[in-house]
Symmetry: C4
Subunit: 169 residues, 4 copies
């Protein structure tokens, strides 16, 4: 379902109205927001794959934890469209952050559930340290967006870079 | 095909027109209807998977029983859009119930067909007792919706909870 | 790709404008056209599956014969939308027939190519007799549609029933 | 994800406004642009498949090189819609060429990364000679499009034929 989410997002991207080079500038913010969402969904795609690869058997609790994550991810195209059409408007940028926060929390719940399944005795993964730090930063971005939207947008970009960049195994 | 249905539903969800917090309230009913449909398609996804896992070989009768189910499920995004754009309007809520009823009946027909294939001698599954009760409640919801739409909507929510909650094997 | 085609077709189906029962009558022709297209794509799904199951190895000629079929099938949602929005208008109904004809011809070319691959010596499958008869009837439907559209629509329905019904192995 | 891209492109293709034969002429340029994009995505589908078939194990660098390619391919439906709605307008035709160029470059980067993984000692595939020549021609098409758009469109068609035609192994 993640490849479908990542692909349909482009349908929310309107073609420019004119045919001048200037009309490209008009769609640029929506396009950058699309690129950012593409990177986020891509990060989830890669990590989700790595997470489920470790799993031997899924029961219905895992299936629902997975659907819970997919629900919040399915809202990414919608909130990308809203934030892209209204660049740097406080509420859309904040809502974008809310959806990213909920994706992050539900990813943590899924990996926690998989740990319980694995009966490893100790439940270590309330997400990695990086995961917990991200959640705090998403929350901060929401508050800052409502005050001055570009600050929220900068945090969204920085977090995407954080998740893309190190990838130490 | 079920992951595609669940994902494209979000395309029917319009971004709000303004950028104020109040504009989110305006799209809230459509959003809740989307969440409800997501849960329903999710329930079918999980149960459909469980149903087909038991099957060794499919013939064309099973394929067509399956396509029959998918046909009614493919209408969920369309009826979700209509009911979501016109919250608590009698006819859209009733039609939403009609589509859920037909999904339920065609799921029952598919599981019945799979039983015939399995040549188990006795055909036990005109659906489970829960399945038959659901069909009666969907029918009730259709009638009540035409009289007072919120009653139908409440039954749709209760039935989703019923199917989500117990899941005893 | 066929499950994607069959699913996105529903996106071309507009929700009714009002919320009265009468507003359903207004969308009924589009809805019936959708149901007919669903059955056609379903028939191709089942037959395409059966065709490729017999194949051991695909080379690039087979891949392109397959993409050729998928190209014409990808136009079914588009021509369904046009014919559905303009019920019984001669040109849309005729074009619907043209697309079905080209799907049928390209399915025949694909199965012919697979026979060549199989090096069976004799190339028997310029399609089955049913296939060749269908092509003649699609061509007839195109001509009749331009004269009186409902005649074309009747042939489209009859051919769908023909392909659904017997299915003798 | 490539089958999803190729299929959703048809959603950007509007049904004609009237029902006369003449109204088909009006949508013809968009339709031809769709057919060209279908062929391009088809070529990538076939070559991408062949490329990944040779690969034993993917690490995250390969995954991201692959997502990089898919990002530029995901823009094909969008730029097809813009160029199709404004046939032979210089900027849309040039942008179409830019997206094709970036797809080609990212395909080259992916195949280069796969060679590094394979630790073959020598990195031979900055793409094939055909690949490098195509990139030069895409760049030429961009410049020519801005001067006289049909010249760019002719190069796009010729390059599609070049990639379709020989296919010597």
């Amino acid at each position: 379902m993640i490849p479908i989410i990542i692909t349909i997002m482009v349908l929310e991207l309107e073609p420019p109205h004119g045919t001048a080079v200037a009309s490209l500038a008009e769609v640029l913010p929506g396009w950058l927001r699309y690129a950012l969402s593409f990177v986020y969904v891509g990060i989830y795609w890669v990590n989700h794959h790595a997470l489920l690869d470790r799993v031997a058997k899924v029961d219905s609790a895992v299936l629902w934890a997975n659907l819970h994550l997919l629900f919040w991810m399915s809202l990414i195209p919608w909130v990308t469209a809203w934030a892209g059409e209204n660049p740097m408007a406080p509420v859309p940028v904040a809502l974008y952050g809310v959806v990213l926060l909920l994706c992050s929390v539900s990813f943590m719940l899924l990996s926690w559930r998989l740990d319980v399944e694995a009966e490893t005795g100790r439940v270590h993964s309330w997400g990695s340290r990086k995961n917990r730090m991200s959640i705090a930063l998403y929350a901060l971005a929401i508050v800052l967006s409502l005050w001055y939207a570009p600050l929220g947008a900068v945090i969204h970009v920085l977090l995407a870079i954080l998740w893309l960049a190190p990838e130490t195994r």
